[in-house]
């Protein structure tokens, strides 16, 4: 495996994992999600 191969593998896999992690973080813990939960959950 060449250095270029490693770079493309790590950058590509890292990019899709980072994007997915950021998206799911925003979906689960984002500002709107928090407000929405607060509106619908009186205990918060």
């Amino acid at each position: 495996m060449t250095a270029g191969g490693w770079v493309f593998l790590i950058v590509s896999v890292g990019t899709v994992w980072s994007l997915a992690a950021w998206c799911y973080y925003r979906v689960l813990f984002g500002k709107r999600s928090a407000e929405y939960r607060q509106m619908h959950d009186p205990s918060e």
């Binding site: 495996m1 060449t2 270029g4 191969g5 490693w6 770079v7 493309f8 593998l9 950058v11 590509s12 896999v13 990019t15 899709v16 994992w17 994007l19 997915a20 998206c23 799911y24 925003r26 979906v27 689960l28 984002g30 500002k31 709107r32 999600s33």
Partner: protein, 532 residues
């Protein structure tokens, strides 16, 4: 205007709709087609045009579909003809929208059969593994023979001729399962199933990935066939391919098909989302989930496993060849654990297939309910009758998989390009990109960067047009010659035409019904009045 249309279905949660859309997008192409495309078009270097296409084509078109779907749903229509007629202000876009019913329905006809193959293979591995014999030299031939038996590809009618072929049993099982889940509705059927199936698919894929990455050098007699060499075969960049137009075309096509845009599915799914809920982040999350499966599982498992045991020859063979013929040889070479790795692999494919096939039935079911006023159960029975008739057609003309191949090209490829082009033009130029983005931003968790205004209006339509024209130049002449020469291809086109005509007639009935209900089907009113 008072709409009598009632929202009959709803998503239960944002994560549910994201997983449902991601489940629709993640399919066999993620695991089988993507690595083949990458290897052929420059290995790691393929990722440069791939990510460009994702940014300029896949993600923006996805946003436009989510926005248009919700726009139509807010105004009381959930079917693709209804939504496109409303967005495009008239009858022509509405009848182009019939493609948004034809595409998922016809694709289901052959996809359901492929799903049945996956189930049959998965069951065979769970039950002890298919018998490929004791001589490793004979495994490749035995695997090819098994594939021919499962698919009936040696002769027309083989699957349906006398006796109850296991593939046909699996075909009816998956059809029943699909119809049952669609009948249960969005939240109780599709959403619930995808919330279980997507994590299960990820677990199976991770199990297979770990085993593949820890294979080392399984055959000491072939030291160059090891995991690192397999990864190198997939990922070492060949930059010379970037100067080749085919590479950019292939990347555009792979991203486009992988994300399930231009299918009609997202329009329908998004029509059940209310104005207060986010669609921008949801669309991006669904796309990123698809990419995660494609790049990190599809990009690491298939080629690496095939190369480690069979060398470069094992990687050749096309989508079905690698997935259904080469990999069983690889699993046999793994020894006793190969049975479980094979089961996990084919369960992954089965779950990928069923989460996609569910999404193909839902838009047509919604259309039958909406255009004819049918109850859900009646709509599902009618839909099942049409779908199973088509699947039996594909199963009967199984020799060389010609019916499947014909439908896949003309409907699963060309029609999708056409519908996506119509959609992006409607969004950017008829609805208006500013109004479309404003609509998308209602309830949004994140904002679409301003640059996408220009990408959606100019870059994406041009990119899509170039990919479509390039694709047609490359493929149409051969395909037209095939249709002219092969009776099966011609009659399959006739079947597709008949289904298209049926759906167009039903749309005409729908138009009448929607007008009688007072729905603004040409989208002339400014504000939606459908209460949520």
């Amino acid at each position: 205007m008072t709409s009598k249309a009632r929202p009959t279905d709803q998503w239960k949660s944002q994560i549910g709709v994201i997983l449902a859309v991601a489940g629709s997008a993640v399919g066999l192409g993620n695991f089988l087609r993507f690595p083949g495309q990458a290897v052929t078009h420059g290995g790691g270097a393929f990722m440069i045009p791939y990510f460009c296409a994702l940014l300029l084509l896949g993600i923006p078109i996805g946003w436009s579909e989510w926005a248009m779907g919700r726009y139509g749903g807010e105004r009381g229509l959930h079917s693709v003809p209804g939504i496109l007629g409303m967005v495009g202000h008239g009858r022509v876009p509405r009848y182009f929208g019939v493609l948004g019913l034809l595409i998922p329905l016809v694709i289901y006809m052959y996809y359901g059969l492929i799903e049945a193959w996956c189930l049959r293979y998965a069951w065979a591995y769970l039950a002890g593994g298919p018998a490929l014999g004791t001589d490793p030299a004979g495994w490749a031939a035995a695997s090819a023979d098994l594939f021919a038996r499962v698919t009936g590809s040696n002769q027309d009618g083989l699957l349906l001729h006398g006796g109850l072929d296991p593939t046909v049993v699996c075909l009816f099982l998956v059809l029943a399962m699909n119809l049952w889940l669609v009948w249960r509705g969005l939240s109780g059927g599709i959403e619930l199933f995808c919330q279980i199936a997507m994590p299960a698919m990820a677990i199976c894929a991770v199990f297979v990935l770990i085993r593949v990455l820890t294979l080392g050098t399984p055959n000491p007699a072939e030291p160059h066939q090891n995991v690192l060499a397999g990864l190198a075969y997939m990922w070492n960049p060949d930059f010379s391919q970037l100067g080749n137009f085919d590479t950019w075309l292939a990347a555009g096509g792979q991203v486009f098909f992988s994300l399930s845009v231009g299918f009609g599915v997202i329009l329908n799914y998004a029509s059940y989302i209310s104005r207060k809920d986010d669609i921008v982040l949801s669309s991006l999350t669904a796309a990123s989930t698809n990419e995660l499966f494609e790049v990190s599982f599809g990009g690491l498992i298939t080629v690496t496993a095939a190369f480690v045991f069979l060398g470069a020859n094992g990687v050749a063979g096309g989508t079905f060849g690698v997935g259904f013929q080469t990999l069983p040889v690889v699993f046999a070479s793994m020894g006793s654990i190969g049975r479980w790795v094979g089961a996990a692999w084919f369960l992954t494919l089965f779950l990928a297939a069923i989460t996609s096939s569910l999404s193909m039935l839902q838009p047509v079911k919604a259309f039958l309910e909406e255009s004819l006023g049918l109850h859900r159960g009646v709509a599902v029975v009618l839909l099942g009758g049409i779908a199973v008739s088509g699947s039996i057609w594909v199963a009967w003309f199984s020799k060389g998989l010609r019916a499947l191949d014909t439908m896949d090209f003309w409907v699963g490829t060309v029609a999708i390009f056409v519908l996506a082009t119509v959609q992006i033009i409607l969004f950017g130029w008829v609805l208006g990109v500013d109004k479309g983005l404003e609509s998308a931003h209602e309830g949004a968790e994140i904002r679409i960067p301003g640059i996408f205004r220009y990408i959606l209006k100019y870059v994406a339509p041009v990119y899509l047009g170039v990919v479509l024209i390039g694709f047609c130049i490359q493929n149409l002449p051969d395909r037209l010659a095939t249709v002219a020469a092969e009776p099966v291809a011609r009659s399959t086109i006739g079947l597709v035409g008949a289904v298209l005509a049926l759906l167009a007639v039903l749309t005409w009935f729908g138009e009448k019904r929607w007008r009688e209900q007072g729905i603004d089907i040409d989208g002339r009113d400014k504000q939606p009045e459908v209460a949520r």
